[in-house]
Homo-oligomer: 211 residues x 2
């Protein structure tokens, strides 16, 4: 399923992907100083495409002030606040007119979420939210959420690895509300779901802080 991204023939795109992954993997932990020339030498490109990739990473919030981001608790709250608004709306929209096909896809995400490997569960989680976001039918909204994707990923990892209880149950409840065409409930459940995610993240963040 790893489709060939035609953009990958661009050095800038490749650099973006490598650096992004390094940040998400923890190979370049929060606070790491970003030096164009150093990265250029390391990745074997010139500074020009590196600079372009850094712009994108800045845009996504993974790099701030020439340093790898170190999201604070406040950042996390802000992020979930915006998500809550946009994904809550999307859930309501999904309840109004999500096609049968997508409903099945949602259902499948839940199934994988219960039975899959860690890797599969993470993918299924992401897909679940993605389908609902797409249902908003609003390109700007979709784009705005995508912009937050990398940082969301940074946290989603935590949530899944630490095995948050009721995660999939909540997805299922949302799914049921959408299927029942109950927009208000879907929205409310999505907001609650994200709030619980936030709380769980904060809890883990604070308990591992002094480790």
């Amino acid at each position: 399923m790893t489709q060939y991204d035609k953009n990958s023939r661009f050095a800038s795109k490749q650099a973006y992907e490598v650096i992004r992954d390094r940040i998400l993997n923890g190979d370049m932990p929060g606070g790491t100083k970003i030096v164009e020339e150093k990265l250029a030498a390391e990745l074997g490109f010139s500074r020009t495409p590196i600079r372009e990739s850094l712009r994108q990473l800045n845009y996504e919030g993974l790099i701030v002030n020439k340093k790898v981001v170190q999201p604070t608790e406040k950042d996390l709250r802000n992020l979930f606040q915006v998500r809550s608004l946009l994904e809550g709306f999307s859930a309501k929209a999904a309840a109004t007119y999500l096609p049968e096909e997508d409903l099945n896809a949602l259902s499948n995400c839940i199934k994988v979420g219960r039975e899959g490997t860690i890797e599969e569960i993470m993918d299924a989680n992401e897909r679940f939210h993605e389908i609902i976001v797409q249902a908003s039918g609003n390109a700007l909204m979709i784009d705005t959420i995508h912009r937050m994707k990398s940082i969301i990923y940074l946290f989603r990892k935590t949530v899944v690895l630490y095995n948050r209880p009721r995660l999939i149950d909540e997805h299922e409840e949302i799914y049921e509300a959408i299927k029942a065409r109950d927009g208000e409930t879907a929205k409310q459940l999505m907001e609650d779901h994200l709030n619980k995610d936030l709380d769980f993240c904060l809890q883990i963040l604070n308990s591992t802080k002094n480790a």
Copy 2:
């Protein structure tokens, strides 16, 4: 009040400002093809800073696919949908804890809105919304709205120039709700306000389309 922006010493920043203004003024109307070398020659910079400025303009949605954006009705609806969610939330937040000082500033915007010149009215309008957005206390949300600012401007111009009725009255109602610390009403009024803006824009858009 025109403070010196220290970034303006950068060619990339200057280029950004010039090109953005050209687009907003209509000097580069929707659909205009963007050619790096042409702009570089025109503005007297090399391509490098031009490219950087174009990335920013892409990010803000003023340039799409190497062409100056031509927002469709759908784009306009999408934009106002997102604004409605974010600014509605912000209005509620403002009602909860907007300091006296900002309340006065809001009040002043309304006053200018009734008595000022076109130029002043446009500024006051922008400021009114800006104060409320800031009240969200959410840097990500603020940034997201700012990202839409240029396109919003493109339309706000229409609204003010065509003198939309009740515009300032609605601002005043929102102000009153915030002052009364009535968050739900403030939110509802803001959403209604933006919806009316949207309708007005659409009306003008459609009536001037075949002119």
